[in-house]
Point group: D2
């Protein structure tokens, strides 16, 4: 099992939000999520934090390109369109640049009609560590 798949197998946070990994390739990942009522904020639209969390998960898969642990140093999100319960969001993360231990990844979040919901740029740092062993 690849590092990314291994990583997702134990990702409780993504499971809490019902995320589904559609693609998990080095530098290219797709994750989708169905928006539930309990993901809405006080304005009855999808909480921006969960839109970010979806994008961040796709980013984490895309940037863990080899056996070393790569973590997010940071990210910037622009919110372009609000969504509501019942919609399906898809985050597509692709590598934009890598230089030494740092990387940049672009994540586009779209709704089921293909409209852009958010754009994220993630900044990664690759550590010298390997992932912790899977408990089982």
């Amino acid at each position: 099992m690849s590092g990314a798949a291994d990583m997702m197998a134990r990702d409780a946070a993504s499971a809490l939000l019902g995320m589904v990994v559609v693609r998990a390739e080095p530098g290219d990942a797709v994750v989708s999520m169905h928006v539930r009522e309990d993901m809405l904020n006080g304005f009855a639209i999808t909480h921006g934090g969960f839109v970010f969390t979806l994008a961040d998960t796709a980013f984490a898969i895309a940037c863990n390109e080899d056996e070393r642990v790569t973590v997010a140093a940071g990210a910037d999100i622009s919110f372009l369109r609000s969504t509501v319960a019942g919609q399906t969001l898809t985050a597509h993360a692709v590598r934009r640049a890598r230089s030494g231990r740092t990387g940049l990844y672009d994540v586009r979040v779209t709704d089921e009609a293909g409209e852009v919901v958010a754009e994220v740029r993630g900044r990664s740092v690759t550590t010298g560590r390997t992932p912790p062993a899977l408990d089982n």
Copy 2:
């Protein structure tokens, strides 16, 4: 009830993560969250998306300073320290600048020892709308 309190009363997303609003003033908000096992990512640390969600919630409260709806146009997060289940995170959002319809808010996320976990800068846009009526 103020706009911000009204807004939080119907925020299902924040409830899903067990967030507690500690302070809700115009331009100044504090929200805390206890990190649960189901908030961890595949590296057994708090999912960055949930750290962002906590900060984004404090930002939403702080930037809704009057009766008009103010939304997040975007935000940048820098991750400085990882945390694990059992810790308590607190996000403190303060207004940094407002000009016309746009605002900038700084959110610092700290752990129970006061160590900085993340720094977020949120960008807001104030709309001409008022919030939807509370269903009850």
Copy 3:
């Protein structure tokens, strides 16, 4: 003369840095600059501010897509590689998304060998104004 060409004809700042507009299309612009000795910082490398200025100029041309004035609301830059005097930098700006009055543009700055020097994401706002008349 198009709005972008008109705009650049009176851009003294870009002239100060010797910038050359290679392409000026709506949503797609290329600008290049030869790095001079007086563009270096105290570490003898190109001042990051001038790398940003080059990218910002390409962004300004790309985002002024029609007769209305579009301005930069903000931008994020990641510095990936340093350069020195004698090198030639090229900034290529392309539209990534537009929604209402706001837009996102990606600008990649490369050196003469095609290596990535910096990546910029610009955030634009389109005003209701038209440009001031050209003095002549």
Copy 4:
């Protein structure tokens, strides 16, 4: 001579824009600049790139807190108010957080009336190198 003063003494780029260092302390720097006609863009306002360059210079001084070379990994700027020739801009950079080799610095750019022109957040990385010897 401190590292920061030494660094500025050979900063040709800052000299090109007529910058004056008002304060140069570890984690706290102030730099000012008089806006000249040749710093304006095609809309007859100060080129955003030069506003950034001023902020970036203050950031560079503030983040070089010891004898090691610290460089900018990136920065985000929000433009809040435009300025014109004849005005004086001042950038004040302060350390916001440091963790390991990375740092975050906030830079506020104001005009001569104290109005906020731009807000910048810089991300630094401290290298293991010391600065090159001064040629003289």
